[in-house]
């Protein structure tokens, strides 16, 4: 038997108590979950904001070029504003 075969003789200490162990996992997991959710929300909100800013920009350019606001959008609400 060589030296490496004797590694299995080292006794592993008992597992930490379930409650403290699970509490430790939660303590590490929850802040990271919060960060992930905030990032997901920020990315989603950024997309939404960019889309609406682009629509407004397009409307401003359209007004500058044609002298009238775009008639209608998919989201409704601008038809009545057209003058």
């Amino acid at each position: 038997m060589d030296l490496l075969d004797q590694l299995a003789d080292v006794a592993v200490p008992p597992v930490p108590a379930q409650r403290t162990f699970t509490a430790g996992v939660r303590r590490k997991l929850n802040p990271r979950l919060l960060i992930v959710h905030v990032i997901e929300f920020a990315l989603g909100a950024t997309g939404w904001a960019v889309m609406h800013m682009a629509a407004a920009l397009f409307a401003a350019v359209h007004y500058t070029v044609t002298g009238s606001w775009p008639k209608a959008t998919r989201h409704g609400g601008t038809r009545g504003d057209a003058r």
Partner: protein
């Protein structure tokens, strides 16, 4: 089956639980059941690789955090337990490397080495000659790089077969046999020198 007709978690296989955990949140029953089922096995791996109970507990918790974020990545190509061992080994290696870097920064003259004095250093755990020899073996293992050390520990301390090890370390069993044989030769020389044989 429970009252709603769904299978109880203790009747489900590891793979079925993993699939359910991938659909659930962090407080889902499947993830909690997986944690209960694998806590001891993850603890063993972490303790073997990290060396102290404090670091092992920290690493084992980190493994389950990583497992939660990677729970959708289990593709079912291997057994779930083998895949989980792979996650545990990678997590421990990452933590050991960052610990070594931190120690090197804090005390550059020590070279970041962590000796046997703090690794598995439990005087009550060595009542026999066999265990003393095992501690000698661990002392010799400190001469290896992190991945080789993990490989040797999983093979000889935890008795995983080469196919399982290949899955955990992302290589082939033939390559691992060769690698372990080379490590053995190298260690035999070093052990002779270190232990005065």
């Amino acid at each position: 089956m429970d009252a709603s007709g769904a299978p109880r978690t203790d009747e489900m296989s590891d793979e079925e639980l993993a699939a359910q955990a991938a659909r659930e949140g962090s407080d889902g029953v499947a993830f909690t059941a997986l944690m209960d089922r694998f806590r001891e096995r993850v603890w063993r791996v972490c303790w073997r690789l990290m060396g102290t109970e404090h670091d092992a507990e920290d690493a084992a918790q980190e493994v389950f955090v990583r497992l939660f974020f990677e729970r959708g990545k289990f593709a079912g190509r291997s057994r779930y337990s083998t895949w989980l061992h792979g996650v545990a080994i990678r997590t421990c290696l990452t933590l050991r490397r960052s610990r070594t870097r931190r120690r090197r920064r804090e005390s550059p003259e020590s070279g970041g080495e962590c000796g046997l004095a703090e690794t598995h250093a439990d005087p009550q755990a060595s009542p026999s000659q066999a265990v003393d020899a095992a501690h000698d073996a661990q002392k010799v293992l400190e001469q290896l790089d992190e991945e080789e050390r993990a490989l040797v520990l999983m093979r000889f301390a935890e008795n995983h077969d080469y196919d399982e090890l290949a899955e955990m370390f992302g290589t082939t069993s033939g390559a691992l046999r060769m690698r372990i044989s080379r490590i053995r030769e190298r260690l035999a020389t070093k052990a002779g020198r270190m232990l005065g044989d």
